[in-house]
Amino acid sequence: MARRDPDDRGPADPGAVRVMATRSGLRVRLPRAGDVERVLEDLSRAVVEAGGVRGGAVTVDAAGRALDAAVLRRMETLLLEHHGAALLQVVEGQADDGGPETGSPGSRARGRSRQGHRRVRGVAAHGEREQAPEGPAAVPAGAVPQRSGASGEDVAAAGRAEAADVASGRGAEGPAPGADGAVPVLARARPGPARAAADGMQGLRVDMTPTLLVRRTLRSGQRVRFNGNVVVLGDVNPGAEIIASGDIVVMGTLRGVAHAGATGSAEAIVAAFRLQPVQLRVGAVIGRAPDGHPARADAPEVARLRDGALVIERFLPQGSE
């Protein structure tokens, strides 16, 4: 096996998978030779030995190997289902810096030019940037206890009287003071015309943050964490979790847990064709479905923060009304 890579550094074991922790996840270098099955097995073991994928994203350095679509797909599935990690990008050859890129989320152009010499393919072609979301730990510890006692009534009091009909599932239980847990109940609201118009203006912004496309249904126990937006082409079942620093869009039914703006953004949204989550988190705010019979969504909806409270609204496409 001839060495083709002139700037190859590190231990000279061409048959081993090498793993390097970066700020937003793992960087994995595949061996230049070896059976695919063996490589995938080694990859999985190496990820476990590295203590899992902290930042939720894996960059794979193919090191000149030809990876066809089927292998990429298997690698993506392996990382997602066994390690809860997203395959962020596949690069070929050795990058000159080898390490994580630093820089603000806004420095995309700079990040791009630095990667210019790599041929990037695969899932999402973006560099690693800010600290990845750290899951529930990213929620300020005080957030939930402080909202103790808050419930559907609180949301209704925030200026949307119609919220009451959505939280109606609680009616069967009757008012039970103090019986609620600390997590405030989610409520649905229909925005008035003025509010809708304002939404339309806001929606004109163009989002350039990295976006991960998940082409499958996420089942119980599966988790996607991504430093950017996440779009799911499928459902998110109860027991599944999506944690994203940006927005979350589910082209299906969201029944699990979604945490948008996990690094603290209060601007983030969660949208779904059918929004029936067990629990939603945006930024540092947590909301849960009402007890009893939850309101069934019958149209695409979007959840966002308004005046510090999580509110679910009908999704209004641009230019409607």
């Binding site: 847990g181 600390a182 849960r288």
Partner: protein, 265 residues
Amino acid sequence: MSEVIVITSGKGGVGKTTTSANLGAALASLGKSVVLIDADIGLRNLDVVMGLENRIVYHLVDVVEGYCRLNQALIKDKRFDNLCLLPAAQTKDKTAVTPDQMRQLCKELKAEFDFVLVDSPAGIEQGFKNAIAGADTAIIVATPEVSSVRDADRIIGLLEAESMPPPRLICNRIRPAMVRRGDMLGISDILDILAIELLGVVPDDESIVVSTNRGEPAALSQGSRAGVAFRNIARRVLGEDVPFMNLDETNGFLGRLKRMFGSTR
């Protein structure tokens, strides 16, 4: 005097989680402070049966890994202030926790609650070892099936090997009519094999399915016969001497008529 009780069975699907939820709710309704630990990491269910799934923010693995404080992960029940749940993680597996960590966790909870009920996963592997690690006593749940009794027997042996006191037995899903016909193992058949103290007998009851799906323990609803059985079990756990339910008792007009005429059936 607090007590850590593990609810286990070996075999899956015999009603460990249902028993945990109902026993916890019944003990809480009798005024005891209770914490339920879901030790079934990766296949969590107890939160759903308790109707508390939507309140989960942190879980058991977060606690042992130091991501959060213990009382941040405890979810207060919506019916009883003195009932709490420590949910399992769904995205991890049994290896995320060690028996030593569970022992420590049970010790901390024991200091704060009258009863710590640990809902064990099925099987005899690490999840089971974790579940029993911190327990003072065990309750075995068995259904009147040969396979369930076989597994329960194995579990009793494993608990003996851990030098735990002899466990107590709950026979779940008994169908008196089938036992009478000789189509189902009776309580005495099961006790012949297992030879442990009987803590309670729970009749097969459709209301369990309904209450499980609704997230409301049957022990709290007056009409449920299984609920009555669980309330009796809770009282026996507290040391009361409660007679076993008459399983032959049929509800409704016909049953009353039969009793009135002294029918022995």
